[in-house]
């Protein structure tokens, strides 16, 4: 298991070659026969180009992105408040942390119909379901961040006469930054999952409406293009969050 770097090309080159090879395989399989369910890569790209100029699809993508952004921001705000209030003191931690973990462990997909009953099948239920996915990881990593602060810092600050507000601003907050970014990364993927689940379940206006329409009318090229766009969106969000997290946790 040794790395023979002298003879092998750079990993990135091979990686791109592998991906291109898979796309070529996809193209060949797609052309091998006319199928109702499968479409060659080139056709998917062409109709991808086409559907993104349709105003309806554009509006749907925009709606979903807006819902996702709102769900993400609300997850961060609620998660931060929840996390800070649980981590505030030993008592609140011991009382509410088990409850938080209990709630976090509930498989939320089972209660999705409840969200639609309560919030309707418009954007509200999607935002709510996204938030209910996104806020727990934020809260848990904020709590882990507060717990991870070295006690000696707090003791020495207190012995030098720092007020609670000063301790919070000068020690707790800067120490929270890395775990907050970890929470942000987890929340972005969780909120995306929640929003897309709700989209696919009750689709009025968003992307889910079009995935259903394209699959029911057997237009695989359009369906693949739309799903490909969502997949690229997910990878971009995740990658940029990972970079942000890496950058902001350097100082520690």
């Amino acid at each position: 298991m040794s790395l023979q770097s002298s003879r092998l090309p750079h990993p990135m080159v091979t990686r791109i070659a592998v991906i291109i090879g898979l796309l070529i395989l996809w193209e060949i399989f797609g052309r091998m026969g006319t199928s109702l369910f499968f479409s060659p890569f080139s056709k998917v790209v062409m109709s991808g180009h086409e559907i993104f100029y349709e105003p309806e699809v554009r509006r749907a993508l925009l709606t979903t992105s807006g819902v996702l952004a709102l769900a993400f921001i609300l997850s961060l705000a609620l998660g931060l408040v929840l996390g800070l209030s649980i981590a505030m003191s030993k008592f609140t931690y011991q009382t509410f942390m088990p409850v938080l973990l209990l709630l976090y462990a509930i498989p939320q997909i089972t209660i999705l119909p409840l969200f639609v009953l309560y919030f309707g099948n418009g954007p509200a239920s999607k935002i709510a379901f996204g938030v209910s996915h996104g806020m727990f990881p934020v809260a848990v990593s904020v709590i882990a961040g507060v717990q991870g602060i070295k006690p000696i810092l707090l003791t020495s600050a207190a012995s030098m006469g720092a007020t609670r507000a000063q301790i919070f601003r000068r020690i707790t907050l800067p120490y929270l930054v890395p775990s907050l970014f970890t929470g942000m990364r987890l929340a972005s993927t969780a909120a995306l999952l929640g929003v897309l689940l709700a989209e696919l379940y009750a689709s009025a206006g968003g992307v889910g409406h079009f995935t259903r329409r394209f699959s029911e009318t057997f237009q695989p090229d359009k369906l693949y293009a739309l799903i490909g766009a969502l997949a690229i969106m997910a990878i971009v969000i995740n990658e940029s969050m990972r970079r942000l997290e890496k950058r902001f946790s350097k100082w520690r």
Binding site: V99, P107, I227
Partner: protein, 266 residues
């Protein structure tokens, strides 16, 4: 779904001491009891309409009827059949693919990032494709569940095999171990804990993905039954089935964790 939960909460819960854990069990029960009482009071006094939130006693009665009359058995059978097919597929393909990728250092460096960035995609978005290609029956749920479970199992297998200390390998080779011996005596025992962690997460995700698939588009199964009652506005039945599915998922998670812990200990 609760996949991320397992990853993040582990560090925090481990920090709780044993006394703290017993205390936390007590508080859990106390808070749970308080919530039930609150729920009961709010619904009995009809501050919250029963169309919105059914009474806990009514839910409990129906839940008991589900258990005692076995009327959930057809749906339970469908869901477990799907899981019994999809789970092994996910484990087998995940472990084999992971092992093949980790065979050389170079293939690990090249392919691992590809798989982990695919893992960042919420796999639920591929579900419409499996419904279009395989129909609304169990086949689409099996494909979807297997795909969902594949990624964590594959990634953990890669991590497990490539994390084996090189010293062990060198030692085994210098004492003349064959390839088969190397695999059986060193690679598999060293990688097993990590792989089992992936298997637990993957099987859990697989089960929840099947429930999710049934919720989104299906004619049978536990996930579908919840939706069916929701669409009929039969809140009591819907809540009873939700409790039922959540309990099954919790029990399954507990069993899988137990398996993982036992293997790690022995």
């Amino acid at each position: 779904m609760s996949g991320a939960a397992a990853g993040v909460s582990g560090g925090v819960t481990e920090r709780l001491s044993r006394r703290g854990r017993r205390l936390s069990l007590l508080t859990k029960l106390a808070v749970f009891a308080a919530l039930m009482v609150l729920w009961h009071l709010l619904t009995v006094t009809e501050i919250i309409s029963p169309f919105f939130l059914p009474q806990p006693m009514a839910v409990m009665t129906v839940f008991w009827r589900i258990l005692s009359t076995g009327r959930a058995l057809p749906d339970l059978g469908v869901t477990f059949f799907e899981f019994a097919v999809a789970g092994p597929i996910a484990v087998l393909t995940g472990v084999v693919a992971g092992y093949l990728i980790s065979m050389t250092r170079y293939s690990t460096v090249v392919l691992e990032p590809v798989i982990s960035s695919l893992y960042a995609i919420p796999i639920i978005i591929f579900y419409p494709i499996s419904v279009m290609a395989l129909g609304i029956g169990p086949e689409s749920k099996i494909a979807h569940g297997a795909l969902f479970g594949f990624f964590p199992i594959c990634l953990n297998t890669i991590q497990g095999f490539s994390g084996v200390d090189a010293i062990y390998l060198r030692m085994a080779r210098s004492t003349g171990a064959t390839k088969a011996q190397l695999l059986r005596r060193i690679l598999i025992p060293a990688a097993a804990p990590t792989i089992l962690g992936g298997v637990r997460l993957g099987l859990m995700l697989c089960f929840l993905a099947i429930i999710g698939g049934e919720t989104i588009a299906s004619l049978e199964g536990l996930g579908h039954r919840i939706v069916w009652y929701a669409e009929g506005m039969q809140m009591v039945n819907m809540f009873a089935y939700m409790v039922f599915v959540i309990l099954i998922a919790t029990a399954m998670n507990a069993c899988l964790s137990l398996l993982e812990l036992r293997r790690r200990g022995g």
